[in-house]
Amino acid sequence: ATACGSPQDTASGGGDAAPVKVGLVYSQSGPLASYGKQYIEGFKAGLDFATKGTGKVGDRKIELTEVDDAGDPAKAVSAAKDLIGKGTKIIGGSTASGVALQVAPIAAQNKVLFISGPAATDAVTGANKYTFRSGRQSYQDVVTAKSFIGDATGKKVVVFAQDGAFGDANEAAVKAVIGGAGANVSSVRAPASATEFTPFASQIKAAKPDLLFVAWAGTTAPAMWQTLDQQGVLASTTVVTGLDIRASWPTFGAAGSKISFLSHYFDGASDTEAAKALKAKVGTVDLFHPDGFAAAQMVVRAVQEGGDDVDKMVKALEGWQFDSVKGQMAIRPEDHALLQPMYQAKLAGSGTEFTATVQKSLTGDESAPPVTQMKG
């Protein structure tokens, strides 16, 4: 090989029959590894589904490159740059919100398509013209939560959330959605590192809310629920929270049956064609399988309509409606929000055996977040 070249070379996309390079940057290791695993399983099932088992769009093969970001935005940015340098025009993945937020601008700067994965942060919606999302966002969770209290006017709602951006976003969304509907919203915040929750449980109890919205992620969640239960919070009010992956269900213990869950997805929440196809591939479907599945569908659509032209891909995705695992999905052209069904669920069971059942489902329009201004 020659050993000389320009420092600003980047490979360019191939011709007609050349494979389409798709880069997936997600967590294979690190704290979100199990989310990442579901995502990639879902993606592969979705690719199979959308290409009817051929793995090809037209006669072009979809060539996947998977890169582990270990949840670290710096690693993800490096990986994205590497992929882009090698001529990749489509990047997906981002299990963590921080990763999604930092990869999105890279996509815009280099004019490649970025389809964010399970990352729930609202800020990905409308981040820029090249950024799409294949999962739900916090706002949709909150809208679903609102559906539990019917008429919100005059009701007292408390948000219990972690310090930091995730908590801020949830608190703001609740204030906008439920507060906007006439409820009186206040919040109790706790440090993400907290291990003892009695002070917060006492504060919540003292507030006597009609609805408690809990936004909590991480390994301390079981201790938190137990404390809320022990201090009688769960018995005294309606408590709503998001239903996490299956592995976490047993950790709710006895508290599980006392909580009203809003759910992005769980096995059996829908019965679509796509859901069947997915189930056939992965066995038990879990929270983030549908995100990967939808991402694959979007990739196939983008390649079909856009070829190697990213702007055409963007055009093809904007406003696109498709049937996915959860049912009817729609990509809102204004800000690329992914409108999708959401669910109310109940958990039953004991020990390690728990089952979730749908109480009610909301359509994509019912759970739609407000339109945001596209930033770039």
Binding site: A3, G5, D82, G98, P105, A165
Partner: protein, 365 residues
């Protein structure tokens, strides 16, 4: 009579070779710098070592990150290896650089050069202020006070006051106001050169300072602080100077890192980062000119590349009891440290002296 025995006879290498080497030696860093600077013109493919050819953006990006950490480790060594101060809070000044630049550019809309200048000045002042307090303690207590300060920094970043830092999600850098030469994948090479310049600057400064009269005092402080006092020098002042300088260099590293990864994320505030700095320095060889640099580069390289290693086919084809742990990058990284301690005591740079007898033996042949 005593000395003839005690001073080991210098290993007799052919005199000519030695003197030629002596003449060339001072220029080796310069040669290394030039080689590093022209790396991006090479399309050399090193399969297994880098994902793409040397001039591909992915490789350059990885190298840029490695170079920044090489510089960071060299700066930390000014404290740890050369002055003997064990600070567990060095990440704070690096993070101040990263977040300072990001916030000033993204939130306040300052142009890059202003943001960078303000940040570095701010970081140095912060180091001077906190150092002035922390240096009233010594030893483990000093380590813990610095750790506590850094922890406050981490909590402040995570709390996301006024939405300034983006909390755990971090803050992507707004590139609209940046010079276009620093934006976009095709310009990764400029970031690489920037990182290289940073590394060269730190190495130069650290080398210069440790060879200066002040550096001599710092080396003395490492051994015996009381004695320095009795010699008529104020230990506190010298330690504060070293602390401030190291803090300023770390902040400058943060500025460059912010540009390289185009954003800030709370990883950089964690106490683990300081610990990794320590690991880098020890891995390379504390108190040596190139040890910390090599340690930093190697550490970051492993940290980034092991994720690829874990996912590689070679690992996946192993039986589960091997492939499962091996696909955990941290497992491999941790194991590498442990092995490094046993097989390279004194750090990578001690390899040369350890291999020296071998080299001599070979030359004799």
């Amino acid at each position: 009579m005593t000395n003839s025995v005690l001073e080991a006879p210098p290993a007799r290498v052919s005199g000519e070779a030695v003197s030629r080497w002596r003449r060339v030696r001072p220029y080796t860093p310069l040669v290394a710098l030039v080689v590093a600077a022209i790396v991006p013109y090479s399309t050399l493919n090193l399969p297994g070592i880098f994902e793409g050819p040397l001039n591909s953006p992915g490789t350059l990006q990885l190298l840029a990150i490695c170079l920044v950490f090489g510089g960071l480790a060299a700066g930390y060594d000014l404290l740890f290896g050369r002055t003997g101060m064990l600070s567990f809070g060095h990440a704070l000044y690096f993070a101040a650089g990263v977040y300072g630049t990001d916030v000033l550019i993204t939130r306040a809309g300052l142009p890059l050069w202003q943001a960078a200048l303000l940040t570095v000045a701010g970081g140095a002042i912060l180091a001077a202020l906190l150092g002035a307090v922390a240096l009233r303690t010594v030893g483990i207590a000093f380590a813990m006070v610095t750790l506590a300060f850094a922890q406050v920094g981490a909590i402040l970043v995570a709390r996301d006051f006024g939405g300034l830092t983006g909390g755990e999600e971090g803050l992507p850098l707004d590139v609209a106001g940046l010079p276009s030469a620093l934006v976009g994948v095709a310009n990764t090479v400029n970031l690489y050169w920037l990182a290289l310049a940073y590394l060269a600057l730190v190495v130069f400064v650290v080398h210069r300072v440790s060879g200066s009269p002040t550096g001599r005092v710092l080396a003395g402080l490492r051994d015996d602080e009381r004695r320095i006092g009795v010699l008529g020098l104020d230990p506190y002042r010298f330690k504060l100077v070293a602390f401030t300088l190291a803090g300023g260099l770390a902040t400058a590293g943060g500025v460059v890192y912010c540009l390289v990864v185009s954003g800030a994320s709370p990883h950089v505030t964690s106490s683990e980062l300081t610990l990794s700095l320590l690991v880098m320095v020890v891995l390379g060889g504390p108190g040596t000119r190139w040890g910390p640099v090599l340690g930093g580069i190697l550490y970051m390289y492993l940290d980034h590349r092991l994720t690829a290693f874990g996912a590689s086919d070679a690992v996946n084809s192993l039986p589960a009891f091997l492939s499962r742990p091996l696909s955990q990058p941290l497992f491999v990284l941790g194991t590498v440290f442990i092995l490094a301690v046993y097989f390279f005591p004194g750090g990578l740079t001690s390899l040369r002296s350890r291999l020296h007898p071998l080299v001599v033996a070979l030359r004799r042949k």
